[in-house]
């Protein structure tokens, strides 16, 4: 177990180091000068070079790379060129939206998908199963932004129950803030739930075909008890993998939904920073996301060990 953790940590550190070089190099190659973008087309060359000096862009590439990496190791992610505030502060603001949004949609999608997947597997071939599978197929096929627009039209414009978008901030009150995250969370969650319920169903069906399930049934255990005690836990491995992937996606890949609901989340921060050539923000946020995804993967690996004791023995 210890060995496993040490190996995983070393692997993570190496991944981060490689990622930092790739991210930095990629943005170094992208054409476009942050100072020029900020000052626009009428700026004099003199003013642009003064700004480059202020931003520290005139220093050699290697010096900038190492000061960036050293800063990150000390928890300093640099200062945004455009906003002139520390990247940490910017990210902290955005995380208060992106993280609750990701957790809320993950909660909604799991709360729908696991029971539905279980139900469909337990009643394989029934009308209910066919219906659920057809619905989930539609759920996967519908783009989430289109579904989001429908939700906005019915709930925000027609019934005026929730705002059409925006985020008032948690200081406006927990319920008000939560309400403004509800539509985006649901629009993100439903397609995820569709995928997750299919995975749950097929994983469970596969386990139900195993010998030990037949044995359990043969020794007189009820169908329900077999599913709960023996099948479900073994079917969780693929479900956990998908959940890990989905969480990473929900944290960083929600730019379209953030646009539809004009939520100032992490995805939009990165998108904006790229178009404004706020390179330090792009670099630092991407590194934070890489680190987060590595941690999520590590947690998923640990969760495998927890649900499947055989893996635990293999590791030690």
């Amino acid at each position: 177990m210890l060995l496993f953790l040490v190996r995983k940590t070393l692997w993570a550190a190496a991944t981060l180091a490689v990622a930092s070089v790739l991210v930095f190099a990629a943005l170094e190659i992208v054409p476009g000068d942050p100072a020029q973008v900020m000052l626009g087309i009428n700026a004099t060359d003199e003013a642009v070079s003064a700004l480059r000096q202020d931003l520290g862009l005139n220093k050699p590439v290697l010096e900038r790379y190492f000061s960036w990496v050293l800063g990150m190791l000390q928890g300093d992610f640099g200062k945004s060129y455009t906003y002139s505030v520390p990247v940490n502060e910017l990210v902290a603001d955005r995380v208060t939206i992106s993280l609750p949004l990701a957790l809320l949609s993950l909660f909604i999608s799991t709360a729908i998908a696991i029971p539905v997947g279980l139900y469909a597997a337990a009643r394989r071939g029934s009308l209910a199963d066919t219906g659920i599978m057809a619905l989930s197929q539609i759920g996967i096929a519908i783009p989430n932004f289109w579904f989001a627009l429908l939700l906005v039209y019915f709930l925000a414009i027609w019934l005026q129950l929730v705002p059409a978008g925006g985020f008032p901030g948690w200081e406006a009150g927990f319920l008000i803030a939560l309400k403004s995250l509800l539509l985006p969370a649901v629009s993100l969650a439903l397609p995820q739930a569709a995928i997750l319920s299919r995975v749950t169903r097929s994983a469970l069906l596969e386990t139900l075909g195993e010998d030990y399930i037949r044995t359990a049934r043969a020794k007189g255990l009820s169908r329900r008890a077999t599913i709960w005690k023996h099948a479900l836990r073994n079917a969780m491995i693929p479900v956990l993998t998908i959940l890990g992937l989905q969480f990473a996606y929900l944290l960083a890949g929600t730019i379209i939904i953030e646009n539809v609901f004009y939520l100032p989340g992490l995805g939009r921060l990165v998108f904006q920073a790229i178009s404004l050539r706020d390179l330090i923000v792009v670099e630092s946020v991407v590194m934070m996301l890489v680190a987060t995804i590595i941690v999520i993967n590590l947690m998923v690996d640990l969760a495998y060990l927890w649900v499947d004791p055989r893996l635990r023995h293999r590791q030690s």
Partner: protein, 498 residues
């Protein structure tokens, strides 16, 4: 349908989301305004950045200059109550308003004006429009309420230039902090900024001039056109000075809750042409292009009908505008003949680099299909602004591109030989030089007309249309600007009728 709607509403209200819905809807007499904007400003210091979004939040609201630009583009007194111009047009004496204080309570005086102008033109200045101050020889604070600005040579547009957002007056103590916490002299104070979401301004009770009717003004940033429409329809936003979804304008026009005002901007949208690069260095080729462009088709196809055709680089709403739209009427045969005379009877291939705005991307496709009719085969290359500026604007590595030149009164760029059009005309340069030295309005207008005629005669660029401003706001909101002679959302005259 109505019953169903009620039932649905009732059902949903009883769910968990109910308690919060009750709060936001209590309506008192309105003294707050939520204004939608497409782009968020990167910071809030208009003296240290080009983005129009900065001025759209703070100009005239938070910061004021010596002069200010009114809704029709006229120069009005700002922090300078009046001014005297010397006979030779080189000395401007500004008489400042008294009893003006900054939002932090400190007093405003002539030293602040000297500081602000000197800072903008200093060597290490990062002012995005440093050229506005290039003509200043010296700034002297004669006494606490009088500032004397000495110019190197007469500049007829100096008072207009001092009305730009880049020329607002800031205090030395707070100048460096203005990016995050702007401190000005305007009728609104900076309240808070939820990054990525909104900027809040509150009324400045200690304002020197007419107090504003609004207690609170919020600028909310919504970049997605569909989201902008939803926000407007759901009542989350009271106004959009420039609505980003022109295709939905008819829907909003039909809705009695909203007022839709199609105004004009300073944005001359042109097919910029590299005047030194063959074959575009031949005026016959440029004229052929002018004959082949169908402006109305571009306006209809790319801008959903919003926009005014222009025949030169000048705003049609300006009194000195000359209508030259019909100088090169649509004439494909004539255009082909001109190309043949220039030595291209079969036409030629060229590139068209298009920056991101839809006027360029959508307009560019239409232009390409129009020019194909006279044998000019354009390869469309979409580019980001971050690439457009160094490649097209700086290095002039392009054949054709489409850009809206949004700076007010910017015909003078055609006199800069090194500007990216690579256009050089002594007659034009003379005209602009004379214009700069002329202060009498009638004479200035004559020179402006002359300048317009010269560039159209040379068919420097493909002059297409003036960008429209589709303002959409709640029908009960009064006092928002119809046109935008400067990039600003001046809220000083805004109020609600009940």
């Amino acid at each position: 349908m109505r019953t169903l709607k009620r039932l649905l509403a009732a059902a949903l209200v009883t769910t968990a989301i109910a308690p919060a819905t009750m709060l936001g809807t209590a309506l008192a007499a309105k003294t707050s305004l939520i204004m939608g904007m497409v782009l968020e400003p990167p910071h809030l210091d208009p003296t240290a950045g080009a983005p129009a979004a900065i001025d759209e939040v703070v100009y005239a609201n938070v910061f004021e200059g010596l002069t200010r630009i009114g809704s029709k583009g006229e120069v009005m007194p700002g922090l300078a109550a009046s001014w005297d111009i010397s006979e030779d047009g080189k000395t401007y004496t500004f008489n400042l308003r008294q009893g003006v204080s900054y939002h932090d309570g400190s007093a405003f005086d002539a030293e602040d004006v000297k500081f602000s102008l000197d800072r903008a033109r200093a060597e290490g200045s990062t002012n995005a429009q440093k050229a506005l101050f290039a003509g200043i020889e010296s700034v002297t604070a004669k006494d606490a309420n009088t500032v004397v600005v000495q110019l190197k040579s007469p500049a007829g547009n100096f008072l207009f230039n001092m009305g730009w957002g880049d020329a607002v007056i800031v205090a030395p103590e707070t100048a460096e902090g203005n990016k995050a916490n702007p401190v000005g002299t305007g009728p609104f104070k900076f309240g808070s900024w939820v990054k990525g979401s909104a900027v809040n301004l509150v009324k400045n009770d200690a304002y020197w001039g007419t107090p504003v009717a609004l207690e609170k003004a919020t600028f909310r940033f919504i970049s997605d056109p569909a989201a902008a429409l939803s926000a407007m329809l759901a009542g989350d936003v009271d106004a959009f000075a420039n609505f980003p979804a022109p295709e939905t304008i008819p829907q909003l026009q039909a809705d009695p809750r909203f007022k839709v005002v199609i105004g004009s901007t300073e944005g001359e949208t042109i097919l910029s042409t590299n005047n030194t690069k063959p074959p575009f260095n031949d005026v016959r080729v440029r004229r052929a292009i002018a004959h082949a462009i169908d402006r109305q088709a571009i306006i209809d196809g790319a801008m959903f009908g919003l926009g005014t055709p222009i025949g030169t680089h000048f705003a049609p709403h300006h009194p000195a505008y000359v209508d030259l739209v019909n100088q090169y009427p649509m004439d494909l045969e004539g255009a082909k003949k001109l190309l043949a005379e220039a030595g291209y009877p079969e036409g030629f291939k060229a590139t068209l680099k298009l920056p991101p705005p839809s006027y360029a991307r959508r307009g560019g496709e239409i232009v390409a299909s129009q020019l194909r009719k006279i044998g000019i085969d354009l390869e469309i290359i979409p580019v980001e602004w971050g690439v457009w500026v160094p490649e097209v604007f700086k290095a002039k590595d392009y054949d054709l591109t489409i850009v809206s030149h949004t700076e007010p009164m910017d015909i003078g760029i055609y006199a800069r030989g090194e500007y990216y059009f690579n256009y050089s005309s002594d007659a034009f340069k003379d005209t602009i030089a004379k214009l700069n030295e002329t202060t009498a309005e009638a004479d200035r207008y004559k020179l402006m007309a002359q300048a317009q005629t010269i560039i159209t005669g040379d068919a420097v660029n493909g002059f297409m249309f003036q960008l429209a401003k589709a303002g959409v706001w709640n029908a009960k909101v009064n006092g928002l600007w119809e046109n935008s002679p400067v990039q600003a959302n001046d809220l000083t005259g805004v109020s609600w009728s009940d």
